[in-house]
């Protein structure tokens, strides 16, 4: 790219991202002509608000609006942010056996979840690696609602469908519905609850982190989960797509402009500050939930019984210790980015960065990556290679920014 245009590389990235998602689309989605990108129900709304649209996982999504990514990231933690995450895939599993069915595919103790509560979990493969991470909610014993990553939609749905067919052929009662008629919005930050309270009669002070409710918000029936991807208190709201724009407008108006439309650029900075993994970077097919630091997500009963794909590998790692571990870093110099090598103080390679960047709230470089077990302790000094030059860094405790989840005292 020496002396080449700024756009040449951008073009090749676009092509790669667009190609990764070439499948038949559901009726409610629109096509962006020429570029083959899907549009959410808020596409025109984003553009009208100054959204800079970029291709992401086959969709045209706002990376930022008129304010800078840095300002946007800071504003989320001071006031609040509204994200369009309708590119993510929401689905419901129903039937008498939906709980045991899902347990064959994820590490969570789904049976043990109280109705109306959910959790982060991991879909595993036969080798104990992660197919995707997902927030699952047991609505009732016969209804599970879950959200999977946009970039993994096709892979996850094919995986679930294949296993569902096999499960049903043995007499299991499970069916699914993919919520393409709905759009997911995420409202995060200190103003999330006060603002949303203006739009619903239900008492949100009784809805704690990880809990779920189906309720009327701004005149339409929404699925509400008190969860998010920023570390702040907040909600993910699944609204019928024909009401998505009205809901977005209402939220922004009720906050008197303090809650801002926020794009994927800030969303990535926020999740990194909260120490949350991004599937595709910090978690992949060959990385197990144990290595990724998600042992807490493997239910106790599941550790004893197994029964999910790759259980033998994962249970062994729980016994013996994994060979690599996900850790967080601070570093000096240029921000460490994905694939930067991590060395010990003597220059021996001990790991690799999987995500990194500049933290607008902490005003320093933060990163996540994997290092050999034994080298993963808090405080360990490392050298991170950026463009071939080593820069000082150290392993630090997680998360970088304290979480503010709404939990009962």
């Amino acid at each position: 790219m020496r002396g080449g245009s700024l756009w040449q590389l951008g073009q090749s990235i676009t092509r790669r991202l667009a190609q990764s998602d070439k499948k038949p689309l559901s009726p409610r989605r629109h096509f962006a002509s020429g570029a083959d990108l899907k549009k959410t129900a808020l596409y025109d709304f984003h553009v009208a608000h100054g959204g800079k649209m970029v291709p992401f996982a086959g969709w045209s999504m706002p990376i930022q609006y008129k304010d800078s990514i840095i300002d946007s990231t800071v504003n989320c933690r001071v006031n609040g942010s509204l994200f369009d995450v309708a590119h993510m895939c929401g689905l419901s599993l129903k039937g008498k056996d939906c709980v045991p069915f899902l347990e064959t595919l994820v590490v969570a103790d789904v049976a043990g979840l109280a109705p109306g509560t959910g959790s982060l979990t991991v879909f595993t493969n036969e080798k104990g690696g992660a197919i995707d991470d997902s927030v699952i909610t047991k609505v009732t014993d016969e209804h599970i609602y879950l959200v999977v990553n946009a970039g993994c939609r096709d892979k996850d749905l094919a995986h679930i469908e294949e296993h569902m067919k096999a499960f049903k052929s043995k007499g299991g009662d499970v069916s699914w519905h993919i919520h393409d008629e709905r759009s997911l919005l995420a409202l995060q930050g200190p103003l999330a609850a006060p603002v949303l309270q203006h739009l619903t009669k239900e008492d949100l002070s009784k809805l704690y982190f990880g809990q779920f409710q189906i309720l009327d918000i701004n005149g339409s029936t929404c699925f509400l989960t008190r969860t998010g991807y920023t570390g702040e208190d907040g909600f993910e709201i699944s609204v019928p797509s024909e009401h998505a724009v009205d809901l977005a407008k209402a939220i922004l108006e009720k906050s008197e402009g303090k809650v801002r439309l926020t794009g994927l650029g800030a969303r990535d900075s926020l999740r990194l500050e909260a120490g949350l993994s991004l599937y595709g970077n910090d978690m992949e097919q060959h990385i197990s939930p144990v290595e990724a630091g998600l042992t807490w997500a493997i239910g106790k009963r599941r550790r004893a019984e197994g029964g999910f794909l790759g259980a033998d590998v994962i249970l062994k790692q729980l016994e013996d210790e994994p060979t690599i571990r996900r850790v967080r870093f601070f570093s000096s110099g240029p921000p460490a980015r994905s694939h930067s090598e991590v060395h010990d103080e003597n220059g021996n390679k001990i790991g690799e960065i999987t995500s990194g960047g500049f933290s607008p709230n902490l005003k320093k470089n933060i990163a996540m990556g994997y290092v050999k077990s034994g080298q993963h302790k808090n405080g360990t000094k490392v050298k991170i290679l950026v463009r071939g030059k080593p820069y000082e860094g150290n392993i630090t405790k997680m998360p970088f920014v304290a979480t503010k989840y709404y939990k009962p005292t």
Partner: protein
């Protein structure tokens, strides 16, 4: 300047796609935005201001706009040499890394140390306070092959229209 993107699912080219978003951008791409008079430009989006025996180098407004907020700048030392079309440093924005390519050859006689604490000067003042290095050109004839302001503006427009 070559834009090197890191393989992260969310690190995308700060690429503007639809005509709708372009109309939001069009006022920004007026003549005055793309250049500052008296400067020469490389097709890798660096500018050079040649005054007497000193040439000052930085990146253009067009470049900083597409890069986004700069968080870190890597510059060479004083007394080191730069060569035409070879990279001499890097600019890190929130989402991307970009190499800076020298439009001319020469010896670095001064480096803008303000950029260490205030890398954002490249965004707010790309032609004035955001200057990067001052060079004693070893071959002034190299300046002749660079673009003038009108040519550069046209170059930017063609590049943007091409995607």
């Amino acid at each position: 300047m070559a834009l090197r993107m890191w393989a992260s699912s969310t690190a995308n080219a700060l690429k503007l796609s639809s005509s709708a978003s372009k109309s939001h951008l069009l006022p920004a791409f007026s003549i005055s935005r793309c250049f500052s008079s008296g400067l020469k430009y490389a097709n890798s989006h660096e500018w050079v201001k040649h005054e007497g025996s000193v040439a000052t180098i930085g990146i253009s407004d067009h470049a900083q706009d597409h890069l986004g907020e700069v968080v870190f700048v890597e510059l060479p030392e004083e007394k080191s040499s730069v060569s035409k079309e070879k990279n001499f440093g890097a600019v890190e924005s929130v989402k991307a890394t970009s190499e800076i390519i020298s439009p001319i050859s020469g010896e670095v006689i001064e480096v803008n140390t303000k950029l260490a604490d205030s890398p954002g000067l490249i965004n707010s003042s790309p032609y004035e306070e955001g200057w990067m290095i001052k060079v004693k050109p070893s071959n002034p004839a190299e300046l002749e092959s660079l673009m003038g302001p009108k040519e550069y503006t046209k170059f930017c427009e063609e590049e943007d229209a091409a995607h």
